[in-house]
């Protein structure tokens, strides 16, 4: 497959106006599935979290999970939506092996929540309002694992395995209104929206929103229209956008790809496209000869959902602070620059930092540890920041030990790595590894003297006024102490002796 031609981004915006539509699926973290009593849990031995209902066995019937309805209403309220006084489930009919009944129980023209908005903060602090068309309840499908194909996709696979553990997991699908007027910032708006949505779900406590595990999934609809035109252009829907960064990349790529097609006199094909994480491109999915007709009709096995107004008002009282307001507050409270705030949120560290501060650490140190070293560790270990095997309390303890001079920064990092490797509490690691700052001046002076004696040329340089040359001696001392000396104190000793 040859790579698509792309129009330079500036040129895209000179000629076209992007319109986005984002569909986000959020798996709820209810204890049980949407329509049965099976445990709702990521993973598990294949086909162990199943029962007649979520396997779609003949005769089995669904019963709505009340907690999922509650979560749906809270999400709707947090998105400033109207909550339906009466709504129904509908069947979306299509055949696919990972769907046990060959219809998905969803909602169609009667969603539980509709007509709202979410204000999202862009990188420069500007607040952009994204309209929400609807949020509706549905069930997840099972998972197909295609075996033998090179890419894990269905084409070329030798056979496929089906795991229904995920079948029937409660989902909320949140659909935006067309997002217009974002211009050059459309990719950023897309990322900021999904980021804000993710923060909102975490604050509501309704989902783990793990994009890497699929508990939050985003489909990005992108279209372009010539500048000045009112009606929308033909859109594509890009799937498999599995990280916040990918949302931005996918939108940007599609804008450039579509612009090249249109600029070349071509027409954009309305299709589903697949995002490639590796190179940031999108590729067409299997072409559809006809548009899918899902033959929606009201689900006759379920009764309508009619949440009382009293209940809705009770739930409204449980809403968290809106994401953009929270950002503003944190920026002010912690006195962060726009860039610091952005890094804090983009790394997903904010709650961890807050917890570390609560455990007694100063904001700047807590932030620096999580946003820098621990984020690197998470990337290196291929896990989410929040899944690192270290608690905010442990991080706070390391920060405290450094502040007390009992650890150097470098030793602190060693201790943190050991904690991540499962070697125990920071103090246990220090004990077990015999890590401690060499603070005995006599001992340190002896090592410094040895280092000075070993490099007389450097000593000459320092004496000649090249103070920065001291670094070589400090380095040698640190090496000799295997990093357990306080570099600042070593430097003082070196300079004293070279006067």
């Amino acid at each position: 497959m040859t790579a698509a031609t792309l129009l330079p981004y500036d040129e895209v915006l000179e000629r076209f106006d992007p319109v986005l539509g984002l569909e986000v699926h959020v798996e709820l973290n209810t204890r049980t599935k949407m329509f049965c009593g099976c445990v709702n849990e990521f993973g598990g031995e294949p086909n162990t979290h199943v029962c007649p209902t979520c396997l779609g066995l003949p005769g089995a019937l669904p019963v709505v999970n009340g907690k999922a309805v509650e979560s749906a209403i809270r999400i709707g309220l947090a998105l400033n939506c109207t909550i339906a006084e009466w709504c129904r489930f509908a069947r979306k009919n299509y055949f696919y092996p990972d769907m046990p009944k060959n219809f998905q129980t969803s909602q169609y023209d009667e969603p539980i929540a509709y007509d709202g908005y979410l204000d999202v903060m862009l990188d420069d602090g500007e607040v952009f309002r994204v309209g929400i068309e609807r949020a509706h309840m549905e069930e997840d499908t099972g998972k197909s694992v295609h075996v033998g194909g090179a890419t894990g996709r269905i084409h070329g696979a030798e056979h496929s395995l089906l795991d229904y553990n995920r079948a029937g997991v409660p989902l909320i699908e949140i659909v935006t209104k067309p997002i217009e007027g974002a211009g050059a910032r459309a990719p950023e708006v897309a990322r900021a929206y999904v980021t804000a949505l993710r923060e909102l779900m975490l604050a509501l406590g309704v989902s783990d929103v793990r994009m890497d595990q699929g508990s939050m999934r985003c489909d990005a609809n992108v279209s372009l229209r010539p500048k000045g035109q009112q009606e929308f252009g033909t859109r594509t829907e890009t799937k498999n956008v599995n990280s916040l960064r990918s949302v931005e990349r996918a939108v940007r790529y599609e804008m450039q790809r579509q612009a090249a097609v249109l600029a070349g006199g071509g027409t954009v094909v309305q299709e589903t496209r697949h995002f490639q994480e590796a190179d940031g491109t999108t590729s067409p999915g299997r072409p559809k000869e006809t548009s899918e007709d899902y033959r929606y009709f009201p689900e006759p096995d379920l009764v309508p959902v009619a949440p009382s107004r009293e209940w809705v008002e009770e739930l409204r009282k449980t809403l968290p602070e809106p994401p953009w307001k929270r950002r503003k507050r944190i920026q002010e409270e912690w006195q962060l620059t726009d860039e610091e705030l952005r890094d804090l949120f983009n790394t997903g560290a904010v709650d961890l930092v807050a917890a570390t501060v609560d455990a007694g650490a100063p904001v700047d140190e807590a932030r620096s540890w999580w946003v820098q070293f621990l984020t690197q560790q998470a990337n290196a270990r291929g896990v989410e920041l929040a899944d690192l095997a270290i608690t905010p309390k442990q991080v706070a303890r390391v920060i405290e030990l450094i502040a007390e001079g009992k650890l150097t920064n470098k030793l602190g990092r060693q201790v943190v790595e050991a904690v991540l490797d499962g070697e125990g509490e920071p103090d246990e690691v220090i004990e077990a590894r015999g890590l401690k700052v060499v603070s005995d001046d006599a001992e340190l002076s002896r090592i410094v003297d040895e280092a000075l004696a070993a490099q007389p040329d450097v000593v000459e340089k320092i004496r000649g006024g090249k103070v920065q040359a001291a670094g070589a001696i400090v380095g040698a001392v640190m090496k000799a102490t295997r990093g357990q000396a306080d570099a600042k104190r070593v430097r003082e000793l070196v300079l004293e002796r070279c006067k």
């Binding site: 007649p52 396997l55 779609g56 066995l57 003949p58 005769g59 089995a60 019937l61 669904p62 019963v63 709505v64 069947r91 009919n93 055949f95 092996p97 046990p100 009944k101 060959n102 219809f103 496929s160 089906l162 007709d293 033959r295 929606y296 009709f297 006759p300 096995d301 379920l302 009764v303």
Partner: protein, 501 residues
């Protein structure tokens, strides 16, 4: 003493509980009867002799130990329609698709029967997935009407009804989507009840048309049906459409009816369900029944339900639409017949081949009609319009029930037709359910009680008695009173006149 297989369920229960008959000997007598006559009738798809005797032994042990019976019908045998799942016992729905499928779970009806120590003899034949009015659509061959084995026993629950008329079982369970309990009851001279929609759990009832399907009791007397009704009905948290309300006192109502006094009861005769298209002998039997109700003291009122004539076409849009979706799960991926899986074909191809091979013509016809009716651009004209007709029918019932307590009509326009007579004429087949469908569309209660034999062919005729939702007790009272007067007038029961097999 009457032969065991000729006794009513109430009589059997009394004798078993009094220790005069053992549940095992009663069960064995019915198993023997099945062994003797089912070659001619073919009511059963599967006989679970071991399971039945095990339950019977438990009942006998309870009685021997002086423990009270688990229910008023403990130890009484029953035939279960093969559309209700039974853990460890095959459930086919009369379809090749499910041949050999052994459900891993019990339907709620089966569970309740188990808890009541009712002895389940086996699973009865039916039109494939309950689609049909003659049981000829069963993939495993038709059931024969015990009154005349060249005739159909009605459908879809022909197996359940025939098992009663053939004295293979005193009780049976049917399911009624458009008349599948009542129409077979009518043409076999037995009693069949479609309770109010939502009063018997659909959990484990393999769905055909979810908004219409309703399981109910089948028996040879109204009282027996009432006793079974009270065992299987009741709220079930596993069925969202199950009604959370007390079961109407149907046994008390049936007993009250046996007093033979219907004074003060207003009976509405549905004007639209008479005349052209009805067999004259059926109409004469119906008129005689109405006269008997009048003689019992009931006030007879003619009632018009003008939209009932649209019930059949509306039904044949709603029912195939729901069916097309409900039957989508039979795709060979997880259970059931799998065809063409030779390692070269895609899952989609295997699905298509399996469905082609697994479903019979009538099932395919309904899936196609339903798929079409739900399609974009046709939904409003078909499914949408049908739902509006449904609302109009509900209103017809509401206004009728302002004037009367129950409604009556013939259950079906003709007596049992010949095997093969209507298999190539779906419209003729569908018309068998003309009078029964409105109660399904409205979710109301309705039953069929024999009104004797037609004077033109000597075959049984059914009287349909309908009642408002959750007023099932009313129709039991009327039917029980009528049944008693009917037998008193002729000096014998309807089934006493059935030829020996």
């Amino acid at each position: 003493m009457t032969e065991v297989t000729r006794m009513t369920a109430a009589e059997l229960a009394a004798k078993i509980h009094a220790g005069e008959l053992s549940a095992v000997e009663v069960t064995q007598a019915h198993l023997d009867r099945i062994a003797k006559v089912d070659d001619q009738v073919r009511a059963f798809l599967h006989v679970d002799a071991e399971g039945a005797l095990e339950t019977a032994r438990k009942v006998d042990e309870d009685i021997a130990a002086g423990r009270p019976p688990a229910s008023p019908l403990a130890g009484v045998p029953l035939a279960l329609k093969d559309v209700l799942t039974t853990k460890g016992v095959p459930t086919t729905c009369g379809s090749k698709t499910l041949e050999g499928w052994i459900p891993p779970y019990d339907s709620t009806v089966r569970r309740k029967l188990r808890e009541a120590d009712v002895v389940v003899l086996g699973k009865t034949n039916m039109d494939e997935f309950a689609m049909g009015s003659s049981t000829e659509n069963s993939a495993f061959g038709p059931t024969h009407n015990p009154w005349d084995t060249t005739r159909v026993p009605g459908g879809s629950g022909g197996g359940s009804a025939a098992s009663l008329a053939a004295f293979e079982a005193p009780l049976a369970i049917g399911t009624d989507t458009g008349g599948s309990i009542r129409q077979p009851a009518a043409v076999t001279g037995t009693v069949g009840v479609k309770p109010t929609y939502g009063s018997v759990s659909r959990y484990g009832l393999v769905a055909f048309s979810s908004s219409l399907d309703q399981a109910g009791p089948c028996a040879r007397t109204v009282l027996d049906a009432a006793l079974l009704h009270e065992i299987i009905a009741g709220h079930d948290p596993l069925d969202s459409t199950s009604i959370d309300a007390p079961v109407p006192p149907v046994v008390a109502a049936a007993k009250q009816g046996l007093d033979g006094d219907l004074s003060g009861v207003r009976v509405g005769v549905v004007k639209e369900f008479q005349g052209e298209g009805y067999q004259p002998g059926v109409l004469r039997s119906f008129e005689a029944a109405v006269q008997q109700l009048r003689d019992l003291g009931a006030e007879i009122v003619e009632v018009s339900c003008p939209h009932f004539v649209y019930a059949l076409p509306a039904y044949y849009l709603i029912n195939p639409s729901e069916c097309s979706s409900n039957l989508a799960r039979f795709d060979a991926m997880r259970y059931g017949l799998r065809v063409g899986d030779d390692g070269t074909r895609s899952a989609e191809e295997v699905m298509a081949l399996s469905r082609e091979a697994g479903f019979g013509a009538e099932v395919k016809r309904r899936i196609m009609i339903g798929t079409y009716a739900l399609s974009a651009g046709y939904y409003d004209a078909y499914y949408g319009s049908a739902q509006k007709v449904r609302t109009l029918i509900i209103r017809d019932f509401e206004s009728a029930y302002e004037k009367v307590d129950v409604l009556v009509s013939p259950t079906t326009p003709t007596t049992a037709f010949k095997l093969g007579e209507r298999v190539d004429d779906p419209m003729a087949m569908y018309r068998a359910d003309l009078c029964t469908i409105p109660a399904n569309l409205a979710g109301n209660a309705a039953l069929s009680v024999p009104s004797g034999l037609s004077d033109d062919d000597g075959l049984p005729v059914g009287l349909q008695v309908m009642a408002p939702a959750l007023a099932d007790d009313r129709m039991y009272r009327v039917a029980a009173a009528y049944e008693k007067a009917r037998d008193a007038a002729t000096g014998r029961g309807v089934l006493d006149q059935i030829p020996e097999l």
